[in-house]
């Protein structure tokens, strides 16, 4: 049962990655592309980690997957802020 739920989670996560890639490719300007990217980073990877933790079982693996997700959250938030700030700085010049 937990495998079925885990697989569903993973499929939802992949759907977010697909949407994020299409958004990065198709949206008109930098800030909206940044918005699409963070959806794929945060929600896509989060659902994927949750699904894999359900499939794998094992407390240590689940903890590691959670840690990966938290690290990517922090990294992508910092990177998105840095990129947006630089773009605004250059636009103000």
């Amino acid at each position: 049962m937990s495998e079925v739920i885990g697989t569903l989670f993973i499929l939802f996560g992949i759907a977010f990655f697909v949407a994020g890639s299409i958004g990065v490719l198709r949206l008109p300007d930098l800030h909206s592309r940044l918005h699409a990217l963070t959806k794929a980073d945060n929600l896509g990877l989060g659902l994927l980690c949750a699904g894999l933790a359900l499939i794998d079982g094992g407390m240590l693996n689940a903890f590691k997957l959670f840690l990966v997700w938290v690290l990517v959250l922090a990294a992508s938030a910092a990177a998105a802020h840095l990129i947006a700030q630089q773009a605004l700085r250059q636009a103000g010049k």
């Binding site: 794929a40 630089q86 700085r89 250059q90």
Partner: protein, 88 residues
């Protein structure tokens, strides 16, 4: 090959295909930030692909590799945006 394994394999393939598609943004540009953003997406996608491959290939150490990759993900963006010269 169980159904779960097949689904995992299919999702890994789909993930890599969409990441390759998203990488086209790095080629189109137009600004440096757009290219950085595309590389950022590829980094997260790489972490996701490693996590998916870990149960498929039965190599638990791949999760640790993904952990290191997640740690280093912000370094490139920080290095690009925090430099003094903005001429490129």
């Amino acid at each position: 090959m169980t159904t779960t394994t097949q689904i995992l394999l299919a999702s890994t393939t789909l993930l890599l295909l969409t990441l390759g598609m998203g990488l086209a943004r790095a080629m189109i540009g137009p600004s440096l930030q757009d290219r950085m953003l595309s590389v950022q997406l590829l980094g997260t996608g790489g972490v996701a692909a490693l996590l998916l491959l870990s149960p498929l290939l039965a190599i638990p150490a791949l999760i640790d590799v993904a952990l290191v990759l997640a740690l280093l993900a912000a370094v490139a963006a920080a290095a690009l945006t925090r430099r003094e010269i903005d001429d490129v």
